[in-house]
Symmetry: C2
Subunit: 436 residues, 2 copies
């Protein structure tokens, strides 16, 4: 099957403009969506369970009588796991174990130090009390996402984890519930959309108010998350998924083609880009894609994605390839090259870096250990993979000795007066030893 | 002067409702502000310098001809510092040194570990390339805020720091520029409002596009920050400042009264709350406030703030005081008690904890070392003081050995097929040793 994929070279005139255009993505903020989400959020906030039940019945074509019917307790999750093929449950358990072990290295302990005069400074680091995890229903219901969103919270020591997942037409996805069981979710509530986000942010009689909401969702969910931010924390708002493969031309073209497919098959807006110093290799990968796509079950999505947002880019040198990679700031960056350890230090921006020929993105998506929730659309320039640090927060610790306070007051007092904040100055001066 | 401050006791009926009402704060999202900010942001994004100059001339009553006139380079900052009283410059330098030394303990190094089969996992941690610091003009132009916003970025190793500060009527604040010099700002641009935020987020011919914008601002600035989020990172949106003092009744009432004033003098919406187990002490603090307010230069603001949002709360025990403190999740929490180290571990939520009788908030505001940019309005439940971690980001590192890839593929493949993601499965399977 012929694939009409954008191809360009760093030698082309206007390369940088072409690149910028390729990368440009703006999530459409539709006034109708905004208005509709606002109504839903306000209703759930004011009417609680009654609105949640009514909206869920309406949007998910259900007929529950009371909010209690929406709750799946932990013991029922265990039963769902028993209904799932044991190969899959075993794989979920192994993946969860690896994700746990990696994330344990992200735990940040409280710290403090004492100055010569006895003053103690530091940070007390504590887990969030309660977290809500949003899991999409339908075709985007990924059990792996349940693990990736829940495990860092568990490792951080979050007290209670509530998961919401819509179950349109009352159809529950047992693998998703099995993943919730394996990850250690405390309770699942079968609601979705903006109404689920509102319930988690403000609490209802049945849904407990949480301190942070994480997890992917459609435009209604994303809009609702933005709206409730402040009442609780939220994770980043994800754009379409992307992969950038940098190849020296010595990898198996079939492997690289399939790595590009693995991103493209997610959805029509996903982006797969190959950069290589070897023009012949680029041609071989293209050939391989045109051959291998024939057998792919998600052929249509792959084709649309590759032709709409994919690109094959020829560059002159590895230096140039790295430079382009830093402009792209990709969610997933594959360095399918010899001695990737010599180049990785030059990568300034990427969500996750997959090094060498044996590290396809797919291994990271499921079970290598690092999180698969990663910054998209160039936001790796300023943000990080989801991690334990997203479920811990810090309180500064300041404990002055009398001597320490006295010395600090001598610095604080003129600065406070310089800012015309007299009470600040006096409050500090009260602690000077001569004044006590 | 009589002060009509809310007083209640944990024994009152409806105490929790009273407390919730006391704490409730919602920043008003005005449709007119929204619309106006949207116009400004779009104009600067499309027209660059031309719009920036025009809007600045209009809003700040200036008459610059070109954007170049808006730039203050580093050498001019040094000259501004020479114009400032040396007591203040010295205090700024000492404060900057202490803030630097504290924040150096927050630097997070890259880490990795190797598994038995040779697979390497870790995180590469890097500083942001370029950061914009917003500094308000006029009455809220605090040199200490320049230090607190810039120093963590410097310590993180951010490549370039651009500060924006409006200079209405062409009046520059030399102390603010001196603070920028001391902190090591690379360049100051004398613009403010939504137009400054837009310029930093999207770049103009003169203002370089930054990766993150930090710093406080009015409702226009806050709205613009929310709007550009995604194009670049932003720090939290701050609400009014708050202090919660917990006292065992053994502190000097005058000190505690002044600590409450130091918060109240910020602005009319600031919140000062005292909790004590000792009703007589509460009465003494109130008496002291009524006496000391007579001499305060910001008397009117203090009175309005205390009467509008302040409270004196009597509780039965320290356990109850701590419980209330965890509900409040205050920006600033003073534990003015004997042996605060025995209680601090029970504090789950607070921006900064000031321990003992010699640690007033004012010392932390200027020079103790920890940051004074702290989560407000209960957001300490899920967020942290500004820190070096806000100017570093992480890239996951995954480097599989062939053996490692082969083992991981056995977990990934069934999970990918369970999610109907065939290309993911094939991409993983390609790396199995038997298939290579």
């Amino acid at each position: 099957m012929k694939l009409d994929i954008r191809q360009f070279s760093s030698k082309d005139d206007g390369f940088r403009q072409d690149l910028d255009q390729l990368l440009s993505w703006e999530s459409v903020s539709d006034a109708n969506v905004q208005k509709s989400v606002e109504n839903i959020v306000n209703r759930v906030r004011q009417e609680g369970d009654a609105a949640l039940v009514e909206l869920t019945n309406c949007f998910d074509r259900r007929s529950v009588q009371s909010a209690a019917e929406l709750v799946i307790e932990a013991d029922e999750l265990a039963k769902a796991a028993e209904r799932v093929d044991s190969t899959i449950v075993d794989a979920l358990k192994q993946a969860a174990e690896r994700v746990k072990s990696y994330h344990e290295r992200q735990i940040q302990p409280s710290w403090q130090y004492e100055e010569d005069n006895g003053t103690v400074l530091g940070q007390q680091i504590t887990p969030l009390d309660r977290v809500g995890v949003y899991v999409p229903g339908g075709k985007a219901a990924y059990p792996s996402s349940v693990l990736m969103n829940v495990m860092p919270a568990k490792v951080a020591g979050v007290g209670e984890i509530v998961m919401v997942v819509p179950t349109p037409d009352n159809v529950v996805n047992d693998i998703v519930l099995a993943a919730a069981h394996v990850a250690g979710v405390d309770r699942v509530i079968t609601v979705g959309g903006a109404q689920a986000v509102a319930a988690l942010a403000y609490g209802t009689e049945t849904v407990p108010k949480v301190d942070k909401i994480v997890g992917p969702g459609n435009i209604y969910v994303a809009t609702a998350k933005r709206m409730v931010f402040g009442a609780c924390g939220i994770d980043m708002i994800a754009g379409p998924s992307e992969i950038l493969v940098v190849s020296d031309g010595l990898s198996n073209p079939d492997w690289i083609a399939m790595d590009l497919f693995s991103q493209a098959e997610h959805d029509e807006d996903a982006q797969s880009i190959l950069i290589s110093t070897d023009a012949d290799f680029i041609a071989k990968v293209k050939e391989s894609m045109e051959r291998q796509i024939e057998d792919m079950s998600r052929q249509e999505i792959i084709k649309t994605s590759l032709e709409g947002r994919g690109a094959l880019i020829h560059v002159d040198s590895m230096e140039e390839a790295i430079e382009v990679a830093n402009i792209v700031a990709a969610e997933h960056l594959e360095l399918s090259i010899e001695n990737p350890e010599e180049w990785v230090g030059k990568i300034r921006h990427a969500g996750a870096i997959f090094m060498g020929r044996y590290t396809p993105e797919a291994l990271g998506d499921y079970c290598a250990g690092p999180n698969h929730v990663l910054p998209t659309s160039g936001t790796a320039r300023f943000s990080s993979p989801l991690g334990v640090y997203d479920f811990q927060k810090r309180s500064s610790i300041i404990y002055c000795s009398h001597q320490g306070a006295s010395e600090l007051a001598k610095i604080a007092s003129p600065l406070a007066r310089g800012e015309s904040l007299e009470a600040h100055a006096v409050s500090a001066e009260f602690r000077m030893i001569d004044n006590a």
